[in-house]
Symmetry: C2
Subunit: 352 residues, 2 copies
């Protein structure tokens, strides 16, 4: 049996209907509401075929049909490429991203917020691995007589910092001198390369061992090799908008997952670096995500560095809207973080 034109249209209609109503779709509904030009009985025959083909499920014999995950898969595969966000929303989003970026976490927070508000689903945004970022500037700032803050500015204007111990004999001027020296050596290199360079530095000028080792340890932290990267979640309570999560234990399981940043970043990391990925229901591989779809997309910071942005919603999510919003925000994020100058709004007053 093949999936001919009409079967496909019927399947599409069923999915469209189910996405908004969340109740099993009856043959009569399709026949009337979607103007198929055939009677319910015919639709029923087709539906029966579709069920046999694995595209439809039937909760019980006297209920309508609901799309199976296989159906959603077909549906989104068909959809791919047709994602376009209306101009008005695009404009509004662009404005929203015209803010000052400081720590990458802030930008990521804005993105998560926007994404969940626009889609009404829960959004998850993960900061990228930072090995590929290039250092532009490094500076030590005295925080007490024996500690200093290392501030690293990367080529995309992103700032990272960390407190380290310093020897008491080093005053502010000495730290500045060290900063200049380090900036000279390290600028243009990626965070990933720093370790090697510092090692060499230690070999060549043994006097500075401690400086180098300090920075090196710091780098490890900043790269966050195996550490859980920062994950921002927004719109958690949105899951209650969907009857799928009227069941308290289900809701609890999902919310617990959203709170567990480790598992969540594991989940997102497993998507690899494909431009985008959609996992429907069991494809996610987690029991608490069995009636969820998680869609993710990557964004770029500079060259080669990727972060992940995603949405979590019921399998019957409004794929078209959700995905186009997500992809657009991902683009915006990439653009904003890859401009070598952090943009400042026009008319900004705080100029020195």
């Amino acid at each position: 049996m093949k999936l001919d034109e009409r079967k496909f249209r019927i399947l599409q209609a069923i999915i469209d209907d189910y996405i908004v109503t969340a109740i099993p779709v009856a043959s009569r509904t399709i026949s009337k509401k979607y103007d198929m030009g055939v009677s319910p009985a015919t639709i029923r025959n087709e539906m029966s075929d579709l069920e046999e083909l694995g595209y439809l499920d039937q909760p019980h014999v006297s209920a309508g049909r609901i799309p199976s995950n296989k159906a959603y898969r077909l549906y989104v595969d068909e959809l791919v490429g047709s994602f376009h966000l209306d101009e008005a929303t695009q404009r509004r989003l662009r404005d929203r991203f015209m803010v000052r970026a400081r720590q990458i976490e802030d930008v990521v927070g804005t993105a998560a917020q926007a994404l969940s508000e626009l889609t009404n689903y829960t959004s998850v945004v993960m900061t990228p691995k930072q090995q590929q970022m290039r250092i532009r500037n490094l500076q030590l700032v005295q925080t007490s007589s024996s500690s200093a803050l290392v501030v690293i500015v990367t080529d995309s204007g992103i700032v990272r910092d960390c407190v380290i111990h310093v020897h008491e004999s080093l005053d502010s001027d000495a730290l500045y001198a060290i900063s200049k020296m380090l900036t000279e050596r390290l600028s243009g290199h990626t965070l990933g390369e720093v370790e090697g360079i510092l090692e060499e530095l230690i070999k060549r000028s043994p006097g500075n061992e401690n400086v180098a080792r300090g920075i090196s340890t710091l780098m490890d932290q900043l790269q966050g090799g195996d550490l859980p990267r920062t994950v921002r979640v927004a719109g958690t309570s949105n899951i209650f908008n969907y009857p799928e999560y009227n069941d308290v234990t289900k809701a609890k399981a999902l919310i617990s997952l959203l709170e567990d940043k480790e598992r969540l970043s594991e989940l997102m990391r497993s998507r690899g670096t494909m431009e985008f990925s959609i996992r429907i229901g069991a494809e996610n591989g987690l029991p608490e995500m069995n009636d969820c779809t998680m869609a993710t997309a990557t964004y770029r910071v500079g060259q080669g560095t990727v972060g992940t942005i995603g949405i979590i919603g019921p399998t019957r999510m409004n794929y078209k809207k959700a995905l186009s919003t997500m992809l657009f925000i991902g683009q915006q994020l990439s653009e904003m973080l890859s401009r070598s100058n952090v943009p400042l709004p026009d008319g900004s007053e705080d100029t020195i």
Copy 2:
């Protein structure tokens, strides 16, 4: 009718029982389990009196009694002063706070996490107003040819930063010179005083107007006058541990509140600066908090600056445990943030 010794003991027993079981307490339970030495019938008479006095409610005629908010109020008032956390937990908590503090947000995050894990309730921690913090050091770090990061280190080792525009003619050395000058002028002053000082600076040396104005605008932001201050929430999913929130709509309302940082900080701000405050049910003034107790305590950063730490749980919360944990963590937080040196763990290697 007065609340004599025995009535009080009975009330206490009812509350203790209800706190753990969450089911209405029967006269027989009290008589047997709490060893009152009188028969259920006597207890019933007393309970009847207690109900008349407003300390007990009865869901329906053939159910046991549940404590009213008035009862909880009496109970916690009686409890005040007897909060003590066992040594083992204290030790564990102290260890947990022996980490590197950088941004105040990080410390606050740790505190929130610890509080929710230990109590099994939801925790909320708000960063303090920062007007009262004293500047120790200020440094400008070049982030691009036309922008710089202002890093401010306060007397408690807390770091704040912000990006500002700078004139293209200023190179790294020039920025360092400006930093030194500003540090000299501003160190020892509170963030709140900066504005005045900068104004004077502008008057005296008109050449530097832009510098000063830039920093001043920044200060406004950092103080966050009326801006919502940072609020960290942890253990959201804990609310599902309590049958009070088996109702999805209730859970949704509360979780939405927890997500709305503006309302949440408003709620916490309204507590004033008392050492601690406990609001039971309707005392919170929000419909979604009607079966919740919210307990808050203040913590200090340096002198005069206070932040708020709090827990949200069902009205029948385990007050003794919850409050002693909260108060202890508040203390730890104060201590850690008020030590003028940010502590570093022993054996730390990253020393320059």
